[in-house]
């Protein structure tokens, strides 16, 4: 560490560009210093140097005094920060992840709420009645919402039903965004699953650097860690279970199919991240491979 440290120090002292260097000519220009500096800074690829002091800037005639120096420096830093934030906020990927977080919270909230309401409803009626209802497959929430009741629970049920509609709209929005951002991946597993994988990984960059075997069990965190710590059977699939080829397959070959699916999926993610356009030749091959998986040739 020590030798590394001194190397770095030397390295830093060799270059001598400060943030206020190269500004001498521009002092009288109409643009304020930060804007001038900022464009220069970008031009240089963000490469400048180290340990300036305000005294040097004052002797060079860039700033009047110390306060002036820190005022300009602060403006530059603020500009830099705002620029970074703007880039972050306008990124499609971040927006998609945030929308997915909203969806996840909505689902959690709705399922918790409806569970408690059904619980309350079954208490009110006799036991035999509620079991009959469940056998018929009636949705108690929908039923209560359609009733004429004006109590709090009925109103809540109506809210839940309308919320289901809003959730559907949200899912459609997410699908549209995801199809744009991850065209190949959405084609293979469907936009919603692709978005869920993205949410689980955190960012597209991180997702692309994962091995296929990690994609395969992404979303099966508990099963994976119980396997690693106590030796229970390893999970065959995580979120990609939603793919129809997997959940329709017999238990014996599910692992094989999800392995193939994951390895094709990671290629799709990489195409999406580095190229960003749909690759129909690859998709055809991938579909073929996924179809073939688990079948004896």
């Amino acid at each position: 560490m020590d030798s590394k440290q001194s190397e770095k120090t030397d390295d830093l002292h060799v270059s001598s560009f400060y943030w206020y260097d190269e500004l001498k000519i521009e002092r009288d220009s109409t643009l304020p210093i930060p804007t001038v500096f900022y464009s220069r800074f970008i031009e240089n690829g963000g490469k400048l140097s180290i340990l300036p002091t305000w005294k040097e800037a004052v002797t060079k005639g860039i700033c009047k005094d110390k306060d002036d120096y820190y005022f300009y420096l602060r403006e530059i830093c603020l500009m830099w920060s705002r620029n970074k934030l703007q880039k972050y906020n306008s990124s499609e990927e971040v927006r998609l992840v945030k929308l997915m977080l909203v969806l996840r919270e909505t689902d959690l909230m709705m399922s918790r709420l409806s569970e408690q309401i059904i619980n309350w409803d079954s208490m009110r009626e006799s036991d035999s009645d509620s079991s009959v209802k469940q056998k018929k497959g009636l949705d108690p929430i929908r039923e209560m919402a359609s009733g004429t009741g004006n109590d709090g629970i009925s109103l809540l049920c109506r809210d839940l039903v309308s919320m289901k509609g809003s959730r559907g709209k949200l899912v459609r929005d997410i699908s549209m965004r995801c199809e744009k951002l991850l065209p190949n991946c959405s084609n293979i597993v469907g936009p919603l699953v692709a978005a869920r994988l993205l949410l689980e990984a955190g960012s597209l960059k991180r997702l692309c650097r994962m091995p296929a075997s990690k994609i395969q069990v992404l979303g099966a965190r508990n099963a994976l860690f119980s396997h690693l710590s106590s030796g229970s059977p390893p999970p065959k699939h995580g979120l990609i279970f939603e793919h129809k080829r997997i959940h329709a397959a017999s238990r014996r070959i599910r692992g094989k199919i999800s392995r193939t699916l994951a390895s094709n999926l990671i290629i799709a993610f990489r195409i999406d991240y580095y190229r960003g356009t749909i690759d129909s030749a690859f998709l055809e091959r991938a579909q073929l491979r996924i179809e073939k998986a688990g079948k004896k040739s």
């Binding site: 020590d2 440290q5 830093l12 340990l51 830099w80 970074k84």
Partner: protein, 204 residues
């Protein structure tokens, strides 16, 4: 440091959510690890002429208090969401310079930071100690370094005491003296505050 009836305070404009004692802002040890260190009685004093490099500024709670005491605070933070909150704090305080860069790559923000009197680091990362060593170039000789070591981020399984002693030996090898370790257990679990001094080259 300003103590009002045994409560650490600072002057300066109030931020939403602050508790106040008259015109003074209360610096709560539960929210800020640096305040906890002062409550446990072993932090170096911050004075009006100090320049401070703060790595891992997060949403700017501690930064705002430090800025009340110090001359200039360079606040380095990379994550966008805390950075947005940090910018809100900056609006009221002229002496905070937000730097949206990764503390692990000091070369990126080196042109903006001058030699500082105090280096403060509060990044809950596995390579915490290495990051702070990379930033030592900014610290003037004879200046103080405060490292908030979150032992649970370094290793979840190991014993916190062991992790801390490893960190201390790393700091010693890098040429830091007067190393004092304070455990902040009363306010923050498994956190150690390591205060040390960069060797004064002129004295040698």
């Amino acid at each position: 440091m300003i103590w009002q009836d045994g409560i650490l305070c600072s002057t300066g404009k109030a931020i939403k959510g602050d508790r106040m004692i008259g015109p003074l802002r209360v610096w709560p040890p539960e929210r800020s690890k640096l305040a906890a260190l002062y409550y446990l009685g072993s932090g170096p004093e911050i004075i009006k002429t100090d320049q401070i490099l703060y790595l891992g500024a997060a949403s700017g709670t501690t930064v705002s208090f430090i800025a009340d005491y110090a001359d200039v605070v360079y606040a380095v933070e990379i994550a966008p969401e805390p950075l947005a909150k940090l910018l809100d704090v900056c609006n009221n305080r002229m002496n905070i310079l937000p730097i949206p860069a990764d503390a692990a790559t000091p070369l990126v923000y080196a042109p903006f930071v001058s030699t500082v009197d105090l280096l403060y680091q509060d990044i809950a990362q596995k390579e915490q100690v290495e990051i702070v060593l990379n930033n030592l170039v900014f610290l003037k000789s004879g200046g103080y370094l405060i490292l908030m070591l979150k032992t649970r981020s370094v290793a979840t399984q190991e014993d916190p005491e062991q992790i801390c002693s490893k960190a201390v030996s790393k700091l010693q090898n890098a040429g830091l003296d007067d190393i004092k370790v304070t455990w902040l257990d009363r306010y923050h679990r498994d956190h150690a505050a390591i205060v040390c001094k960069k060797r004064d080259l002129k004295e040698l």
